[in-house]
């Protein structure tokens, strides 16, 4: 009995969000002022779950008959998901009113998608991962097309669904092959038999298909094709969630399932695959981002190239690399949410103000926004002392430690290219005169969300050692 109680205590974050979304349904149905209550209730739930995860970060255990893990790395992912989602919810309050019709489902789907992510991060069984993945993905498909009246949103939703289903198919196929060779779906079982099966072609094909399915979710080349179209068509805040929470969740699934490859106990046989798609994603993302006019598409390509940097950490295949990836995900989540947040603030009705030109001369009229956006751009470009620099630094160092110096060099080169399109925005904001007469209603809650993100970016950049220590501690 006591044991069960402990199990429930450890999954309070999941229970909170599970209960939260049921209550949210009721609020949506029975309260007249649900459009005021629901956002704040959602934020409260996310924060409560996040802080509990932070508080209980040391209670490492495996519960529910080997189905879910709690504590440690899992809780760190919970923290990334829930705090990220809280920022998204805060951004959304004014944004979705501006965006068009208000739907209560918005916040409910937000909660279910986070629930899905949490199940993926905590999974100890492939079925659990699949369950979480579908919960997240189906919520995402609906969120992308939330505004039925917009053609672009419909297109985004449908494309995401079609290609997402395609990718999910490969994941299921991979799971089937893995089960066929290991005779179990337990991740521990897979890990323990990985070495003896590492020359079994069927088993490796299964692992590879599984990995390819998630390569789609993290937006790595050549499985990235959906990204620009979906980001452009979806509500901006939701695009921010796709690029951060969605990516972090997919990485958590890879790390959880294939963790045995990345801790140095057995050779990283998937290194060639990871390194190749890493290089392709980095360069493809950075190069194509240069010729984008639409800021959301530019951020989409930036997201592809960041998937590449993150993959360097996995390709390195040592515990520094994985710790670096998790650190990178945390810092990337907050800086990218800040970037999408500012785009959401500036975006006008009917998708106006989304071209790069709308940012020219911003500094003279909205100095605070310009300053915040500059910090985010510097961080995304990987310039110290912001969080983005240390993320890249840790994964590059991990690559060098695994004798993949060439990969680190390519990563640095790609970063150099990316500086061009990130800093172009800073140049536009500070050194060019405004071409359009931009008038925006700066939403207070939205601005607060952006400021919080920027503060986190700065804090992570000041004390990266503390955070990487915490992550690395659980990886030993």
């Amino acid at each position: 009995m006591l044991n069960n109680f402990q199990e429930f205590y450890n999954i309070i974050p999941i229970l909170l969000i599970g209960a939260g979304f049921l209550i949210s349904l009721l609020i949506e149905m029975y309260f007249k002022k649900s459009d005021v209550i629901l956002p704040w209730f959602t934020i409260l739930i996310f924060l409560a779950a996040g802080f509990h995860a932070l508080y209980a970060v040391n209670s490492v255990s495996v519960i529910f008959q080997n189905m879910l893990a709690t504590g440690g790395i899992v809780n760190i992912f919970y923290i990334i998901f829930t705090f990220g989602a809280a920022i998204v919810a805060l951004l959304s309050i004014d944004y979705i009113k501006k965006y068009g019709t208000y739907f209560g489902e918005y916040y409910i789907l937000l909660q279910t998608s986070i629930l899905g992510m949490m199940l993926m991060a905590g999974a100890k069984d492939l079925f659990m991962i699949f369950l979480g993945l579908e919960l997240m993905s189906v919520s995402f498909y609906s969120l992308a097309g939330l505004n039925r009246k917009r053609l672009k949103a419909n297109e985004a939703s449908l494309k995401y669904f079609l290609l997402g289903a395609f990718a999910t198919g490969f994941i299921v196929y991979g799971i089937a092959l893995i089960y066929g060779t290991v005779h179990s779906t337990s991740i521990d079982m897979i890990a323990s038999r990985f070495y003896e099966l590492s020359s079994d072609k069927l088993f490796i094909a299964g692992i590879l298909l599984f990995l390819i399915g998630f390569s789609f979710k993290i937006a790595a080349f050549p499985f990235h094709m959906w990204v620009p179209d979906v980001y452009e068509g979806s509500p901006t805040t939701i695009a921010g969630l796709f690029s951060t929470g969605g990516k972090a969740a997919a990485f958590s699934a890879i790390i959880v399932t294939l963790g045995v490859l990345f801790t140095g106990r057995i050779g990283n046989i998937l290194m060639p695959y990871l390194a190749v798609i890493s290089v392709l994603s980095m360069f493809y993302g950075s190069i194509v981002a240069i010729s984008q006019d639409n800021i959301k598409r530019m951020l989409a390509y930036s997201s592809i190239s960041h998937a590449g940097y993150l993959l360097i950490g996995l390709a390195a295949g040592n515990s520094f690399g994985v710790a670096g990836v998790i650190f990178y995900l945390a810092s990337y989540t907050f800086m990218n949410l800040g970037a999408f947040g500012i785009v959401a603030l500036i975006e006008g009705k009917d998708e106006s103000n989304l071209t790069l030109k709308s940012f020219s001369g911003l500094a003279s009229r909205y100095p605070l926004l310009a300053a915040l956006f500059s910090i985010i751009m510097f961080s995304l470009a990987g310039i110290p002392p912001f969080a983005g620099f240390f993320g890249k630094y840790y994964v590059f160092i991990a690559a060098i430690k695994s004798n993949l110096t060439w990969l680190a060099i390519l990563g640095v080169l790609s970063s150099v290219i990316s500086v061009y399109f990130y800093l172009r925005i800073v140049v536009l904001m500070y050194f060019k005169d405004a071409e359009t007469d931009l008038k925006i209603d700066v939403s207070k809650t939205g601005l607060a969300a952006v400021i919080i993100s920027v503060l986190l970016v700065i804090i992570i950049g000041i004390a990266p050692g503390t955070i990487i220590d915490l992550i690395a501690f659980f990886f030993k």
Binding site: L158, K159, L162, L163, F166, A167, F170, S199, K201, I204, A205, L208, L209, I212, F216, F221, P222, F223, M225, W226, P228, D229, L270, P272, Y273, I277, Y284, I287, V288, A289, I290, S291, Q292, Y393, Y394, I397, I417, Y420, I462, A463, P464, G465, T466, I468, D469
Partner: protein, 645 residues
């Protein structure tokens, strides 16, 4: 209190953020001034508390490390943000926050009505934040953070009135000069830090110093480390040949000159060398070098100060000269004498600058001492405090400067090299002369200013800080009364710092300099000279102005040489600045940059843009095509990985 030491950096940082973010919006100067000063005041109280707590501990346990968080951790490099509270850092902390607080309060009056009031206090608080990190940091990297931080604040504050003219150019040029010259020093400092990490495998003071004492490390490594670090100190503490920025730094507001360019920042080099005393003790050749540079700087700058006419310029060269004294002391191994002089100098030089500020304030921004005269009846409080400070710097007993200067002179004599002592004494005579030339021309004699000027005493918010500093400048020396007068207790100041410098002093086999009758003889000789020098200055500049003119005519060459500061700026211009500017314009800019680098970069950028433009066409928007690309990717990956098994 020791555990709360992090507040002494946190509070100034918060003050900086508050005044920096909201300073321009708040129109009320009182709020800005009170917030700006109280953060420093509270920090001071915390340091005082930490000091007494440390004092109550047994002597061998007086070092506390307060660890805040892990900063950078990569491989073997493990740097924490942690503060080292010990005798040395507490001493520096007391000076920085104590004198800093007084100057903050003074600034409320001095900066009254300035449109950048909030910005000024923001920068001052940021400076204290950086300076406290510099003195409290328990490793070289945090020291370097503070080091760069104070450099930045110095730059920002020298150019604070960026729209004003300064001499032949603008204040921003003076700020740039300070920044660039400091970069040269910082480069050396950085090399020193790299070499330390390479040699000792750590950047923590305790590890590095313990290993420096125990490991068997070749002599030349110590020499290089000590030399590189000293190059950093030369820049920050304005020693020959990198002193040229400090006189120009007077372009900043006067409280800045008092706080940054006299009392605290410029002594960072002295602190750093003292902190690394064990490394210097292991590099005797570099110690000798430090002493030579210090002695030369002391006499060289003092001679320039003799003929300058700008009140702040005189004080600036005086600061350079006094810093030379401190390095002379470090060079002969009298580490604690150097720090004693850091402390007393902070009191009397801050007071001199604040007094000068008060005069400038009362004379409506007039800075030429030839246009002053007879001001003592208009500003009695400023006059008395200024006089006390001048007597202190001249070394008249029992004021503070007497004790610290005497200890340095005696140590350099006892070190065995009589030249050092001689230079020190001559510098002391010159110091007494130029200070009383300044006092006489400013406060005594006939009024030489026009009727449009109406000199007035400054408000209480400015004079009270003067009085407090005057008391400190008068009695501050008593904590370091030499052994010969204080008897068996010995020199209290030296006793306090003894555990810090004990390993270094054991290495150079100099267990403190013991007093003897000789010390009294030398002391009297110096004192007689100083008094004669003061009398000469007063005679020439009050009673009869003619001898001064005669002197300057007879020694016209020397006079002009001094007036033009040995033409050092011109020499630098001709030998370094112009070649670099011309060279970079013709070779680097017009050829290398525009033709080669720009051509290359633009070429690559154009190429990438073209590639970008053509690859983006893959993104057709057709979902079937997207699926096809995915499929191709999957097939390729499967084939490759499976076949390579």
């Amino acid at each position: 209190m020791v555990q709360l030491i992090y507040l002494t950096t946190l509070l100034p940082l918060l003050g900086f953020l508050f005044n920096g973010l909201f300073g321009s919006k708040i129109k009320n100067e009182k709020i800005i001034g009170i917030i700006g000063s109280s953060t420093i005041g509270i920090s001071f109280l915390i340091v005082v508390g930490a000091f007494f707590q440390t004092l109550s501990m047994p002597v061998d346990q007086r070092q506390t490390i307060v660890n805040l968080f892990t900063w950078i951790k990569v491989g073997n490099l493990d740097v924490n943000v942690s503060y080292q509270v010990d005798q040395l850092s507490l001493l520096m902390g007391l000076i920085v926050t104590g004198v800093g607080f007084i100057i903050h309060v003074y600034s409320i009056g001095y900066m009254h009505g300035d449109k950048g009031f909030g910005r000024f206090f923001a920068y001052l608080n940021l400076f204290i934040f950086a300076m406290m990190n510099l003195v409290l940091g328990s490793n070289f990297l945090l020291l370097f953070l503070g080091w760069e931080g104070v450099g930045l604040c110095s730059y920002l504050l020298i150019g604070f009135w960026y729209d004003r003219k300064f001499e032949k150019s603008t204040t921003s040029d003076a700020a740039k000069k300070a920044f660039i010259v400091n970069r040269i020093g910082d480069f050396g400092f950085l090399l020193g830090i790299f070499l330390i990490y390479l040699t000792f495998g750590s950047l923590n003071f305790n590890d590095v110093f313990a290993r420096a004492a125990s490991l068997n490390i070749p002599q030349y490594v110590f020499n290089f480390i000590a030399l590189f670090l000293f190059i950093g100190a030369m820049g920050k503490s304005a020693q020959i040949p990198l002193y040229i920025w400090l006189p120009d730094a007077m372009a900043g507001p006067t409280p800045v000159s008092a706080l940054i360019h006299a009392a605290t920042m410029v002594t960072a080099g002295v602190y750093m060398v003292a902190r690394c005393s064990i490394i210097y003790a292991s590099a005797p050749a570099i110690m000798e070098f430090v002493a030579i540079i210090g002695a030369l700087t002391a006499i060289f700058a003092a001679s320039i100060a003799l003929v300058q006419n700008d009140i702040k310029k005189v004080l600036a060269y005086s600061t350079v000269s006094q810093l030379g004294y401190m390095f002379l002391a470090l060079g002969v191994g009298a580490f604690s004498a150097a720090l004693f002089h850091v402390m007393t100098h902070a009191f009397f030089k801050a007071l001199l600058f604040l007094g000068a500020g008060s005069v400038i304030h009362g004379m409506h921004d007039e800075q030429n001492i030839q246009n002053y005269g007879g001001l003592k009846k208009y500003m009695p409080k400023t006059y008395v405090t200024f006089l006390i400070a001048s007597l202190a710097i001249a070394g008249i007993p029992p004021l503070s400067g007497f004790f610290s200067k005497d200890e340095i002179l005696w140590s350099s004599y006892a070190d065995g090299n009589i030249i050092y002592w001689l230079i020190g004494v001559v510098t002391a005579l010159l110091t007494a002369f130029y200070m009383f030339r300044l006092v006489s021309l400013t406060f005594d004699g006939k009024e030489r200013f026009g009727h449009d000027k109406h000199p007035h005493e400054s408000p209480a918010v400015m004079t009270i800080p003067l009085i407090i500093l005057a008391v400190l400048a008068a009695v501050g020396g008593f904590i370091g009364i030499p052994e010969i007068f204080s008897g068996e207790h010995g020199n209290q100041f030296d006793n306090w710092l003894e555990p810090i410098f004990q390993p270094a002093q054991a290495k150079i086999a100099m267990f403190g300099v013991h007093s003897s009758l000789e010390e009294i003889v030398l002391m009297v000789v110096t004192l007689v000279g100083v008094i004669g020098s003061i009398y000469a200055a007063r005679y020439i500049y009050i009673k009869n102005i003619k001898p001064a003119e005669k002197l300057s005519k007879r020694f016209n060459g020397v006079y002009n040489l001094l007036l033009n500061k040995y033409y050092v700026d011109e020499i630098y211009d001709a030998s370094v600045v112009t070649p670099i500017v011309k060279g970079s314009e013709i070779v680097l800019w017009k050829f290398a940059d525009i033709k080669i680098i720009d051509g290359l970069i633009n070429g690559v950028a154009n190429l990438i843009e073209k590639i970008s433009g053509s690859i983006r066409k893959i993104q057709t928007g057709v979902a079937q095509f997207y699926a096809l690309i995915m499929m191709l990717g999957i097939v390729a990956a499967l084939f490759w990985i499976i076949l390579s098994l």
